[in-house]
């Protein structure tokens, strides 16, 4: 492909709209363009790379025995009512009406459609197991679309759904998908961590996320520095934390005026103590009723962990008015002693004595608090987010905190959807039973961007060969020099014919511009044809990953390039 025949609108400067490296690079290298917030057009180069990620996903799905289908993006309201998710999906799901005023939605995911399909088309255990997948545009009305393809409103997803006769069989399907996902991300050149994760609106019993490690990632995770334990921060457990010893427990709590000291920092400064000596008291409404949750002053309560520990999704922070009603004090002075509400404490507080808390009086705190002596704690639960340095719950190692981009997610769903849609089968010998399901998703467009986030330097993208839009660029230093242009054209043609996808940079631009663009776009291989190299009957060959080029005889160039592409593919 000649550069001048395609459209590669590279940008010299970082676009204002982009915050993270991969987003800047996708715009600067001319891979995508923004139509509106969270809506992007793929330009020729971006689409080529995207198709390669899709192809890798397709090959691994097929290899795992999954069957490709294609379901509508537009879906009738009724099936979402049937799964009871029409309300649950909230504002994230786009809703619209057709000309007959019938309600439709734009599919954010396809459990409903596929389970409805399977309930009609599969009825015998002989037809199971089955895994269906599709690669298709999904739509989600994100509160805050950002980071380019990372959090877009329309994006390409590879989603898959498994149907099995039993939990054990479903576990095997889950493992097949899990393994296929590992291969997919490996082949895309991504470094991922597989972490235990929350199931959220999807429901189900167990899930794993595939996290592409990146400092810019929106998700937090911890992994043990010693064993294989890893989890999303929303879910991560910690090992046992030893109880710190504080002086001055006294015989009973003591109220101390602390005018104006509301925050942990202010109170710790007032008492001249470490923040962890404070007991943070947060009021939540759980199913509408006030519940107090306690944490050490230096830790944060994680609402996902709290909701899971209390076994309900109906957990919200209490508003100031509710706090004042329950504590009888202004916001900032809540404490557990004498509080009229059920009280749950993080396990790290077990044995706390001589601690400091709010006094349920405005402008006052309480010292000498001993939880076991002074407070009726309904339960010690794992409520605070794990953090760097915490002990691993499974071994003697320490947890390390990392950031990641969620590129894949696998769920064990159980029978939630098969029950709702009557997706069942008749065993050889018995009564009709619900199929056991799993669902599996890869954010294909997000994966593409994660590859760039992990593979770039200050000059531009550094594509893995497997997903590079083109393998090589043949750069004619001076297209006005007929012999250069001819040699470059012949070489590009030979490369294309041998399966090396090649762009011929035939632009009448300064060499500096062309070199910079080659690095920015990140072609894995660059061949430069110049008058100087031609004088030596050679061309200059350089890999994007290497510091400097080497001279290669023209006659050997196509073979050399082909060998490298082959070796790195």
């Amino acid at each position: 492909m000649r550069w001048t025949d395609t459209l590669i609108p590279t940008l010299r400067d970082d676009p204002l709209e982009a915050e993270i490296a991969s987003h800047k690079l996708m715009l600067r290298a001319g891979l995508i363009r923004k139509l509106a917030g969270g809506l992007y057009t793929f330009l020729p180069l971006g689409l080529r790379a995207l198709r390669k990620v899709e192809r890798i996903a397709r090959e691994e799905m097929d290899r795992a025995g999954a069957l490709e289908i294609l379901m509508p993006a537009l879906q009738p309201r009724e099936i979402w009512e049937q799964s009871k998710r029409y309300a649950v999906m909230g504002e994230t799901m786009y809703r619209l009406q057709d000309r007959q005023k019938r309600d439709l939605v734009l599919g954010p995911t396809h459990e409903e459609v596929v389970t409805d399909l399977v309930s009609r088309e599969i009825s015998s255990y002989r037809q199971l197991p089955k895994i269906f997948y599709q690669i298709q545009a999904k739509f989600r009305d994100e509160i805050r679309p950002r980071f380019g393809l990372m959090r877009a409103r329309e994006f390409i997803m590879k989603d898959a759904y498994s149907f099995d006769v039993s939990m054990e069989a479903a576990d095997a399907s889950y493992q097949r998908m899990y393994n296929a996902y590992r291969r997919i991300f490996d082949r895309c050149g991504l470094t991922t961590r597989i972490v235990e994760a929350d199931t959220g609106a999807m429901g189900g019993k167990l899930s794993h996320e595939f996290m592409a490690l990146a400092d810019s990632g929106e998700d937090g995770l911890v992994e043990c520095d010693s064993c294989s334990c890893a989890a999303n921060l929303e879910r991560a457990e910690r090992g046992f934390l030893p109880t710190p010893l504080f002086p001055d427990a006294g015989e009973s709590p003591l109220v101390v005026p602390t005018p104006g000291a509301r925050t942990i920092e202010q109170v710790a400064a007032f008492f001249g103590c470490e923040p962890r000596r404070l007991i943070k008291t947060i009021l939540y409404l759980v199913k509408g009723e006030p519940v107090a949750v306690l944490a050490p002053g230096d830790r944060e309560i994680n609402e996902h962990k709290l909701a899971r520990a209390l076994e309900t999704a109906d957990v919200t922070m209490a508003d100031p008015r509710a706090i004042e009603t329950v504590t009888g004090a202004a916001v900032g002075f809540a404490g557990p002693v004498g509080l009229q509400a059920p009280i749950y404490a993080d396990t790290a507080l077990k044995g706390y004595a001589g601690a400091i808390s709010g006094a349920n009086r405005t402008d006052a705190h309480m010292t000498r608090v001993c939880l076991e002596r002074d407070v009726r704690v309904a339960g010690y639960l794992d409520l605070c987010a794990a953090r760097d340095g915490d002990p691993c719950p499974r071994c003697n190692g320490k947890l390390r905190e990392k950031r990641g981009i969620e590129v894949g997610h696998v769920f064990k769903l159980g029978a939630k959807y098969s029950d709702a849609f009557g997706a069942s089968y008749v065993p050889d010998d018995g009564r009709r039973r619900a199929m056991v399901m799993g669902c599996y998703g890869i954010g294909v467009t997000r994966t593409l961007q994660a590859v760039i986030e992990q593979n770039h330097d200050d000059k531009g993208i550094n594509w893995p060969m497997s997903v590079a839009p083109y393998h090589a660029v043949v750069l004619v230093l001076n297209p006005a020099h007929a012999a250069s242009l001819q040699t470059a054209q012949d070489l590009a043609q030979n490369l294309d014919a041998s399966g090396v996808e090649t762009v011929l940079d035939d632009r009448n631009d300064r060499p500096g511009v062309k070199f910079a663009d080659a690095d920015l776009i990140g072609f894995p291989l660059r061949v430069v044809v110049s008058e100087r190299s031609l004088a030596k009957n050679s061309v200059e060959l350089k890999q994007r990953t290497q510091p400097s080029p080497e001279l290669v005889p023209i006659a050997d160039a196509a073979r050399s390039v082909g060998d490298i592409v082959h070796a790195r593919s």
Copy 2:
């Protein structure tokens, strides 16, 4: 692929929801399933065939130098306001709001997005010409979705857009796409006619439709039996029609009471004359003002032709109240003599004398009408649809009426969109000028169904090799017979390895069911492995198009099948 590992839910009976053969067959052969009106899921076999049509379209687009991109389906209202089509698209365009209450639409087509893109990214004549295309789901809220994929609410389209420096250059791009479309439909095994067509809501100056001929087609077309002239009925011109001679012109019209005779049939019966002696008088509102349009009693006025002849899109039938106000009579008795409205007549009425029309009095008609003597005709225009047997407008041939399925449409757009979006370029020497555009569309899903509509018999589908979901089925007559199953498995594996896409029918079903399914699905090649054939060290090979099988030695079977696939691809 083993039959039992995939999902091919064939149906014995015609589904009630389907009216035309291809729709019935797509359901019966297990290619698609309906989710809701106009919304279909592609099952594994249907998706394979669809991908082949897509691949053919992609190859021919690439060969023609078009660049593949991918634009969002979700689009902001603003760009549709900019092209002034937000209102024009009416209820056909799905509209929705995001959580910030901003208006969005689901793209029924992409002129707006692509022209906006080009206006930002291309500014020099050196970057032109360019043709962009995409293959993507489109959304249209059809009044009456029907015939399966023929008129669906979500469907796959291959759309393309050309940008050129001049009308002449745009003509060349148009011709490139026109030729590419011919190749695409040829390769898909479709018999098409290319007809002149209306430009409709797309705007622009000239367009051609690619019509797959089929009796069930929703579109009418005429083509000359002698020259290459062909057009959509909405646009087709006719050659000169000789004026019929009627007796009894008299000296002036004569009012005759015709109580209860309103329709052409009733009036012709009353007078005992041919319908064509009657002058049909239809009242329209053109830009809100009444206009009378005359046609011979045996012909229909075509509103598309009328609108084009009057150079406005604002043409609607007058309602009964307006008719009564203008004619002073009940509906059914309008006539041109003395009518207070501008009067246009179809050219076939030129020279009409001794004709019969309404009298603008309830229950009365008028005989002895001579148009030139009695009526002030504002213009004789080509207003009636052409029909079978009409003279060709270009040669001495006769027009033949056919039905067709519109599978492709190419438009010369001029500068309508480039003006709206400022898509312009600076020539070497001069002032900024608007780009000249063309747009081009293939209904990919509709094309797939048209292939079936044209290629089936009473047993099922008869796929062209190029788009068949699989090339061959290897049918094991009795899977319980170990040698049969082993031979069939080996053969299927050999075929797959040699690039022949094969299904191994390993079901424990009666041979009759398996033979019927093979014909229904329409595998181009069928190989039967039976105990009887194995006794002769052979298998039975049959092409779907041939009446009977031939015995082929097992050792030669893979090569024979491969040769046929190769020859027919």
